[in-house]
Amino acid sequence: MTVQFKPTETFRDTFTYKKSAEDILRFPFPFPEDEYMYSVNIEPHVKGGPTAAFNAAFDIDEHYVAECRERERVLKEDPKRCQVLPHMLTAEWDALELIMESLAVDYPEHFSLSKAGDVWTWVNRPLGLHQTFTFGKVETLPYGPFEYITRQVQGDFTLQDQREDMLYVDGGMVTTQADWSFEFNIGMSFMEWHGPVPLANEKGVFERALKYLLRLQCGQPVRRLNWTMTINPRLDTSPENYPVWGPDRTTVTPENVGDKVHLRVELQTLFRLPRSNAILFGIRCYLTSVNDLVKVPKWRRRLHRVLRDLHPALAEYKGMPRYRQMVVDYLAPMDDGVPTTKGIAPETDRLDG
């Protein structure tokens, strides 16, 4: 079934973002068990998984057009949300190639790519773009290659340079982030940019993940899920705009908690790039309200148990102290105590309520 785009939905001010039943069921629910702690939960990024969000290298859903418009708006307000250090130009072209080829294969009805030697023609039907350019010639595109293509994909992206057995975040398109500043972090090492994360550093999670990623092979991408919670379906929860979205956290009440509080999931993907040996890191953000999640019995039981038992340091880091108990109290009567099965699949094809 071809997805119906909803180009006018909004992720700020009026918050007209809504999910169809299909869109709820394809949500990459982040908890495979009834309790949560940081781990190196990395697996091969192969097509096919517990929900339809895992069916493509770069997932496109019904919010595609609206998210690209939101990105354009953030970039107008703050052009430095997209920056690439000069030594990463080869990685920019690598990323453009990977994304264009993947989209054209996974969504032939929406995207096509044709090549005549170095002269490529890219067609993006949902956004109405038709671009002929010369691969390797920056002046033949309206933006740098990385910015050009990442304006046309959902989710944030960073480019990691690998040198001296370390990864450095030396480029990025970051407009839908969960409270980390790209302008502040650009140029940082893997260990530095994860410096503020509690507990995981002490558990050695980042040392192990780094060792794993330094050996990442071309053509064998990997993925993991990360999560937090966001009030209202707001994509741009950057530290830059914290004075804009921070007050939302005080607006949650026992009456509106189900609609206001959203589970924010990042489907994180990592691809080794062929020419530059850099790594493309995709951070694809999905937002689902508590009221949409409770329509799946397994998810409402598990979300209640995870939030109820969450380590206080994690709740603090994720900015949840003001409203976590309200979410737990709201979910508690909906948790019948029935054991849940392992894994994140919804195990239903229709929604309750």
């Binding site: 140029g187 410096g195 550093n201 921070g246």
Partner: protein, 195 residues
């Protein structure tokens, strides 16, 4: 509160020198080398040394030799840093760069040296002098020098900023983030932490 557990906060060591160096240049943000900044057995007479006099009147004919043991004074920290770029442009492989001073000085020197092609392994940094911080306002990008308190008012946008331990070497600054963004007006008492 003084340790926020953030791993991007830099750590420093003493200057030990490097026997494998072809040439060694030491930058000191002060008139003399503080003895506590040198590792045991470290011998500054093996380095070309640049110092900061914090005085406009320099000797009429200051030492300008580019040689081990030479000590060249500069009027100010900025005066020294402005000469560093040109000096490093003329250098070749095998140079080791050392710096002793405040955090903003060390990381300003680091950024100049990185742009000149030196890697972190070719540098040594010793932290000496005041612990006051350079703060980057994450909301409006204003830099503030000499911050000694846990909370500071941004000179650019007026936000009351909490001073995090999250440090960017590229900006040579710690992050300041609005402390009362969620509930405007709820600003805790500032504490004198970084002196």
């Amino acid at each position: 509160m003084s340790d926020q557990g953030i791993k991007s906060k830099p750590t420093y060591s003493k200057i030990a020198g490097d026997k494998a160096a072809r040439y060694q240049l030491l930058l000191v943000e002060g008139a003399g080398i503080p003895s506590e900044a040198m590792a045991e057995g470290g011998d500054p007479s093996a380095f070309e040394t640049w110092t900061v006099a914090h005085a406009s009147a320099l000797p009429a004919a200051p030492m300008m030799d580019e040689a081990p043991g030479a000590v060249r004074p500069f009027r100010s920290t900025q005066h020294l840093l402005s000469a560093l770029e040109e000096r490093l442009d003329r250098e070749t492989m095998g140079l080791r760069l050392y710096a002793i001073g405040t955090e903003p000085f060390l990381w300003d020197a680091f950024n100049i040296a990185s742009a000149a092609g030196l890697s972190r392994q070719e540098m040594q940094f010793a932290h000496a002098g005041p612990k006051a911080r350079r703060i980057y306002c994450v909301h409006c990008r204003t830099m503030m020098e000499g911050v000694t308190t846990s909370i500071v008012t941004c000179k650019g946008c007026g936000a009351a900023l909490f001073v995090r331990d999250h440090f960017s070497k590229r900006l040579a600054a710690y992050m300041g983030v609005q402390v009362d963004a969620e509930a405007p007006g709820e600003v805790p008492q500032a504490e004198e932490l970084y002196k």
